[in-house]
Amino acid sequence: MQFSFTPDQREFAAGLREMLEREFTASHLRAVWDEHSGHDSALWLRLADMGVLGMMVPEADGGLGGDFIDTILLIEELGRAAAPGPVFETMTVGALALTGSRWAPGIADGSVAVTTALTGERYVPHAASSTVLLAAVGGEVRAIECADLGQATVDGIDRGRRLSAVGWAADRAVDIDVDIEFLVDAGALASAAYLLGLSSRMLAIAGDYARDRRQFGQPIGSFQAVKHLMADALLQVEFARPAISRAAWSHATDQLSRARDVSMAKSLASDAAQKAARSALQVHGAIGYTWECDLQLYMKKAWALIPAWGSASFHRRRVADAVLGPRLNG
């Protein structure tokens, strides 16, 4: 029993964090919002060069051949930076679904971005800036080139995540032979890790503001109301973290408890992110309610991801079925 990451895994994540802090600041993210592209090609290629995008792609296809345990800390860092585009989808769901396909090498070299429509969503995120769509059709997984999609784009609350209503001709869709629940669990787990990073970032922004902003002759962070609001939010974040690590292990080693562990992770991560966003905004007061304040860039991403890949209550029910047995009235 050893519940920790290797020095290599931690160093890789630390390296990614440094790169993102240096090369993808809030103002870079704001630029992506301003172009309304929902994508940053330079960042995407940078992540490919670092091996981040191809972490779960087999070495034969030019990836690093890692597993979910090698990947989970990287996704948390991408969440901390609110990296735009279908980044965790491509790294996890895409890599797992498209192994051995003609697209796999492109995931590793950054030429292929994979987005998903596996949980019956009405609008597909990132479809306009992706290469391949993985869609659920009658319980089966299909891959469609995004170039072959009919798309109508609508405004989403998170400008780092464009939404499209899509359609395609059946003959353009390729069957992918992989268990859909396995893929959905991968997406739910990855979104949980991404939300964890977002939560930490929101609390960090609130902490900076609370140290800096003065009222009544002292920094507002010295008031117990602010201290305790943030401490309670941190508490939820810290107790979501090990659940996410464990779920990564369960998914990577295909444990029987995979569904339960992934749902626990997503449920705790969603609740923690909701709390972190709410608390960070309250700490900021009116300034947090402005477009200029960077907090919104991360808060809106969190609001978009909390209901994605199954809501907190959907996942809570899934845990309940595993722990308490199935619900009587289904």
Binding site: Y123, V154, Q215, Y289, P307
Partner: protein, 383 residues
């Protein structure tokens, strides 16, 4: 105690309902935080005024109906149930107006109230400053008398001034005694936003619209007649206004009862009827909205019987703001991934959610309100 409505009350309700049914725009107006929307809301206010429904609780001579709080509440219930537009005139009619009626001179009442009631002049509030948010007493904007003593010369900056982008006038407090500190030496002054030296910089809010603004004052001159209440009495006048804002008028229960009715409809339309957790949550919200309605009726009866609302208004402010936020969080939960879409059928819920997030912040953060409750209602020692 009798909770049935008198014949007079029923009549008043029926009259209001009939007029609203005949006059409320069939389509919702664009947000009054947009130029077009502001214009259309001003037109709506003018129509309200024609029907003498814009300021029902004001004296008749100023365009009101001299309605007591109870009738005002009845009107509010009918107003929000009818789906009528939000009140772009709110800062004036519900905040400044009652204060002018209370402490203003006859000349001021005659000059400001009718134009306010008809929204010929729409008012913005200018309470906060960059360094005076929760700590409102640390006001720095200065007002100095001109040499001939006829004018105030205003300098400084206000922020979070709602409606200021397209409004005609604003009101705020200025430090007119340079040697004063905190609550002393402040004066409440009324300022035309088209005065030379006034610069309004819109601030984009979370939804991208510009609901509030910064106002810069650079040697702005206004006649001393624009002083509301006594020189140096600004804090007291402002507190009366803010107290009233938090107390009853800012958020009448009706809008929350209507919001919860919409939430119940949403739950019926798209919720899982078999999900007790959501069912209980929706029920809790109904009880909260209903409790807020009852609490307000009780407060209003108390006022009618000669009582006064004091710091209890802080209790209201926390209650409605957290209830409104909770209602919208539940709606977001019900909508699931559809809550991510900004336009489309559920746009009003997403907009409402973003707006509800400001509730615990504006009109004095809920943290400040909790301090007030602890200090003045629970009599706990000051920090």
């Amino acid at each position: 105690m009798d909770l049935t409505e008198t014949a007079g009350e029923q009549e008043f309700r029926a009259e209001a309902r009939a007029w609203l049914e005949a006059n409320v725009p069939p389509e919702p107006l664009p947000s009054f935080d947009t130029e077009e929307g502001f214009r259309l809301h001003r037109e709506w206010e003018a129509k309200l005024f024609e029907g003498r429904w814009s300021a029902v609780s004001w004296p008749i001579e100023y365009g009101g109906r001299g309605a007591d709080y109870l009738h005002w509440l009845i009107f509010e219930e009918e107003y929000w149930r009818s789906g009528a537009p939000g009140r772009v005139s709110q800062n004036g009619i519900f905040l400044l107006g009652p204060t002018i009626i209370e402490v203003g001179t006859e000349a001021q009442k005659a000059r400001y109230l009718p134009a306010m009631a008809s929204s010929a002049e729409v008012w913005a509030q200018a309470w906060s400053e960059p360094d005076a948010g929760s700590d409102m007493a640390s006001i720095r904007s200065r007002g100095t008398l001109s040499e001939d003593g006829t004018e105030w010369i205003l300098n400084g900056q206000k922020i979070w001034a709602s409606r200021a982008v397209w409004a005609d006038w604003c009101f705020g407090i200025f430090r007119t005694d340079p040697d004063s500190v905190r609550h002393k030496g402040l004066t409440f002054i009324l300022i035309p936003l088209d005065s030379p030296g006034v610069t309004v910089r819109p601030i984009a809010q979370l939804d991208g619209d510009t609901g509030f603004a910064e106002i810069f004052f650079d040697d702005v001159r206004v006649p001393v007649e624009n002083t509301l209440g006594g020189v140096g009495q600004g804090w007291g006048v402002a507190m009366a206004t803010a107290g009233f804002e938090r107390g009853v008028s800012l958020r009448s229960p009706a809008r929350f009862n209507v919001a919860v009715e919409r939430l119940i409809k949403l739950w019926v339309d798209i919720g899982d009827p078999d999900d007790d957790t959501m069912r209980d949550a929706v029920t809790d919200l109904w009880m909260q909205a209903e409790g807020y309605r009852l609490h307000t009726y009780m407060t209003v009866t108390k006022l009618l019987e000669g009582g006064s609302v004091g710091s209890e208004s802080s209790i209201n402010k926390i209650f409605w703001s957290e209830m409104d936020l909770r209602a919208h969080e539940l709606a977001m939960q019900l909508l699931g991934p559809d809550a991510e879409r900004m336009d489309g059928p559920y746009e009003s819920w997403v907009d409402g959610f973003l707006f509800s997030l400001s509730g615990p912040i504006y009109a004095g953060t809920n943290e400040i309100q909790r301090n007030i409750i602890a200090d003045r209602v629970l009599n706990l020692p000051r920090a």
